[in-house]
Structures are given as C-alpha cells and as structure tokens.
Symmetry: C2
Subunit: 346 residues, 2 copies
C-alpha cells in the first residue's frame, strides 16, 4: 500500500505541486487507497449555499439539469468544487475503511456515521448515482465514495439528534467555538448578525461566559431574526441595526455601553462593508472577530488604522479543536434553541 501525504497532495493530478484545494483535478479512483486515507461511503452532499444558488440559477431550477451540472463538475475535477464560486460544502456518510497508517490513531472505525468538516472543494469524490435533490436545504442524496485525508477534520454524528439538525449546526460550529475562547467573564460582547444560524449559537455561548456583570448585545437587521433572538433569550439586549452604517453602529453601542464600547465584537453578517461598524464598536485593545466571508482584509486593516483604533482583528477560522462537540452540546443543553433549529433547519 502506498504512503500518502498528510494533506493529500498524492491525489493531486493537475497542476502538480499544489494542495488539493487549489488543484484543478484530483484523483477519485477509489479502487486503490493510500495508507493514510479514510474511505467514506457517501449518502448526502450538503452543497455550500453560494454554490448551490449558482447551480440552481444556471439550471433554471430544473432538477435534471442540476444533476447534470453536479455530475459534470465531479467528472472533470474529481471533487465538487463549484468552478464559479470556488466553494464546496460538506458530506455525510459511513466509514468504509480506515487506512493502515491511521488505525488505532484516530477514533473512527468501519460503520461510523460522520460528517466531513473540510470543504468538498478539496475532497476526492466519486458519484455513482444522484438519487435525489433537495434544493430547499441545499442537499443532494447520492450513491458514491469519498476520501478524507489524514489532515481532514470530521465529526461523528451523535445518536441523540437527527442528522439534518447536526449538519445544520456543524456547518457553523467554528464561530461559537471561537467565541468561547475570546469571551471572558464580565465582558461586553456585541454579536452582529446575531439572529442567524451561527449568531444565535455565539450569543448563547457568550451569555454563559460573561456572567452577571457582563453584557451580550445581539444586533440584527431583520425583524424576524430579532424576534427569534428574543424567543430564545440568549441576549441581554437585542437591537435592530444596519451593520453597514458605521456611524450608527458606533453611536448605538456607545450609548448602550455608556461610552465603554465592546470588549469583543463577533461579526457574522454575510454582506460587504460591515468592517468599519465592527471596528468602531470595539474599545481599544478589544477584539473584533470576523467570521463573515464577505469581510475585506484591506477595509479592515486600513479602517482600524484610519480611525486610530488599537483593536485585534481576527480572521474567522472555521476550525477549532473540539468545535463540533462543543456546538452540538449547545443544542443538548438549550431546549429553546434546539426547537428553533429543528423548525428552521430540518
């Protein structure tokens, strides 16, 4: 059996010398495995939302056309990386085989149900058949196989929650995990986009940590989301706010905190131009965590300098050790959030 590279470069066909994510084509021949590969029998692809939206548009919402596009992408690249959006998604399946070099070193065995937490944009995939498309939740039921590399991350699906519910939470589990690390007792925390899927989990985590002298402020642009936040009760204050209006952001939080501003700002807003509002809300030596993929590096960097704000600005990392278990646990402990997420995302 061949020895594989930790990051899966042994599967890269074109161009040589790059990692699987930027590669144009990776090998998806599952008949011969490398010693550090994990073979997965795949049931469900959870296509990244931006990617699925693009495919649906291209296909004029025609189901057969959607299937053709997906099959063509995977046939060409050996992986499900949308050539327009560059994004992937995740998958659910059962472990079929764990490579000899990993046996006993990881907690997976044949038959375990897992969700991969690395992007489909780098995961070798072979589709035998597309069984069904569920466009309303971006899911594709397939018969197929995939490879998880040694560096690849995954979560075992818990037995006490439905797979769809677990998947919804695992999709955003980086944000609450980072929130847990950043927030301290007594902190004032602002969560932007607080009523969305990741926002509510961030608020829940923050509220547990800040304690009685701290404050969690949940800000959202949509009335519906504000109502959801109130319904689950994870904030001390909920405010309606346009995160692209930097001055309004500053004035609102300045008033609410009596000029103290926030220790930690968590930005989950998936629209452009929310960098400056996030920065102005934060006190000097505070931390702004940008989880939104719409964040512009230069707008954040030059924005902070332009107003002389000495804040630490973090690039959202979707991976944190233990993030999956930690996020699933929020649903176990909080009945209200679990019910809401079952309604919304399953």
């Amino acid at each position: 059996m061949k020895t594989g590279n930790k990051y899966g470069t042994h599967r890269v066909i074109e161009p040589q010398g790059v990692l699987p994510q930027p590669a144009a084509k990776v090998g998806n021949d599952m008949s011969e495995l490398y010693d550090n590969e994990i073979l997965i029998d795949v049931d469900v692809l959870n296509i990244d939302s931006a990617s699925f939206t693009q495919i649906k548009e291209q296909a004029n919402d025609n189901t057969e056309e959607i299937k053709s596009i997906i099959l063509a992408i995977v046939a060409k690249q050996g992986k499900m990386k949308n050539p327009v959006t560059g994004s992937g998604g995740m998958l659910i399946g059962s472990i079929e085989k764990v490579g000899a070099a990993l046996e006993g070193k990881i907690d997976l065995k044949t038959g375990d149900r897992i969700a991969t937490l690395v992007s489909l944009s780098l995961t070798p995939l072979f589709i035998e058949e597309i069984i069904d498309i569920k466009p309303e939740i971006d899911q594709v039921k397939i018969k197929g196989k995939a490879i998880l590399f040694e560096s690849g991350i995954y979560a075992k699906l818990p037995a006490d929650l439905s797979e769809t519910l677990s998947l919804a939470v695992l999709d955003v589990c980086g944000a609450p995990a980072q929130t847990e690390r950043l927030v301290k007792k007594g902190d004032t925390v602002v969560v932007l986009g607080a009523g969305g899927k990741s926002g509510i989990l961030c608020c829940a985590v923050a509220k547990t940590i800040v304690g009685e002298y701290g404050m969690v402020i949940g800000a959202d642009y949509s009335d519906e989301n504000i109502n959801r936040l109130k319904q689950v009760g994870v904030c001390h204050h909920t405010i309606k706010l346009n995160a692209t209006d930097a001055l309004q952001c500053y004035q609102t939080i300045d008033e609410l905190t009596k000029g103290q501003l926030a220790d930690v700002v968590i930005n989950n807003v998936n629209i452009p131009n929310t960098e400056m509002g996030s920065i102005l809300m934060c006190k000097d030596r505070g931390t702004v965590y940008f989880f939104s993929m719409a964040t512009s590096f230069t707008k954040a960097a030059l924005g902070a300098e332009g107003v002389g704000k000495d804040v630490d600005m973090l690039i959202g990392n979707g991976y944190a050790i233990g993030h999956a278990d930690m996020s699933i646990d929020i649903l176990r402990k909080d009945e209200k959030i679990r019910k809401l997420y079952e309604e919304l995302y399953t």
Copy 2:
C-alpha cells in the same frame, strides 16, 4: 467655535453620513476650525507607493503632469485620496494650532514637528503650491495646510534622527509593534519577507524577545534581502523561500524546526497567494499575523479550515498604541539597522 466629531464626520461634504475615508469630498476650508481639530502647516506629502506609481504612469513620468494630477485630486476631493488605488500616504509638517477642546489633553503644541500616521485618504488638505517632486522616494514638497482629527494618530519627529529616516520607519511601525505583543520567550518565529523594510524591524524585535531557547527564522525570496538580513544579524536562520509555494514553505520549516513548526508567523510579503504557506508553517494554536495588504480574507479563512489547522489569524493593524516610539527606538539601539536604513531609505 464649532464642536467637531471625534472621527471628523463634520468635515464630510459628500455623501453625508459616512466617515471621512470613504467620503467623495471633505471640506478643506482652513479659515474656520472646529474645537477638536489640529491645524498643520504641511511641508511634505509622502504619497503611498501604490498611489504614486499609478500617478507617475498616468503622467508618463512628466513632473508638471504629476503636479497637475495631484492638484486636481485635492481640488476635487479636499484630500489626497488616489481615485484609482484608493490609497493615500502620510504627511510631515509643523503644528500651527491645536483646537481648544484638545488643549492640555494631548502632547502637541504650536511649532512641534510631526508626521501624521493616519492616511492622507481621509485627511483634509489644502495645497497652496507644489514646490518640488521627488519621485524616487514618493515625496512631494508643498506649501499647504492639513487637518488632523481628534481620533487621528501622529508621531512627533525625534530630534536625533533625520526626518526622512524617521518617516521611513514610521511608515511600517505597526508591524514591529504587533510583533512585540505576539512573540514570547522561547518562541519559534518565522518572518516572511524578512529582508524588507518592515521585515527587518520585526526580526529585530522578535530576536530580542525569544532569547536563547527561541529561534527567529527570516525568509525572503530575494538574494539581496537575504544578504541584508545576514549583514544586520537579526535572525538565527535566514532562508531563501518562495512564500507562494505552500508545500515548500511547510517542508522547509518542518525540517528546520524538527517537526515543531512555528509559534508565530509574521507575513510581510506584498504579493498574493502567500496565505497557505503561512498557515502550514504554523503549529496548532499558534498565531499567523498577516501584515501584507495582498492578503485575501477568504483564502486565509478557507485555507486554514481546509487543512484542519487550529491557528489564530490576525489582520494587520497599522496602529498600535506606542508603535511609533517603539519602532524609532529600534534604530536608536541598533547601529547596523540604522546604517542600513540610512543607505536604503534616505
């Protein structure tokens, strides 16, 4: 006297309700000052390098044409924000007047020589006359006035160093200041783009902190820069490395650190596609500091997740409290660096 806004929004003419940086036009009438404004008698504009390069090209290197372009930009916008690159620069001048609301609260008085450390892209500027253009060091000598807002940052120019030398260092002083915060005794630190203006200062700071059990690795792509690094002796190892080759980055640092990888990676490389190399060099729970303006937020965020790296990734903030004094002090303490910077940048 009118009361001004801390961030200078009172000077914004168009569009209303935004900050001075994104504004299309700010007021540059210096005859009436707000109570929290600082009026500067300006001698020198240090145009941002990207901006000056663009202007020189547009003017076919014709000096009179360069002058016309600069005058036209300032006449139209009330500030020197290059409409193509969006960038500004900084200025040198003498304090002419400190607004009544700031008197006694800041350490500036009439006659002090300062460099502004906020971008020219948000600084109200009036040019009476352009006296001289020095294209080789991106400087423009003028007769004119500028306004520093209450939130604006500045550095008093030290009496013991030439103004040009101080300016060269102040231009990049955020990076060494952040390095000082991030690096701890015993750390392994990799500086990418180590032989450049900010890189050498970062290495110098890191080497002082890591002590005898730590290690500073200076990586650069250019032989000339590698030689400079050796000449000033601020690294334990200097290596020639292409920062866009992620796998080479990983393998080199993996070998050099015997599989431990780096605690802190400081990226000063001003070219695209160096995110993945920086991430792979860093150990789990280590920190990658992106000071390069060529950094892509999404490439960093998705890159770390894709390889399952639990690293903290920071967006370079050009401002840190005390950064100017701290950086100038490096030149005072290190004769070799000072001599090199005098040769290269004055």
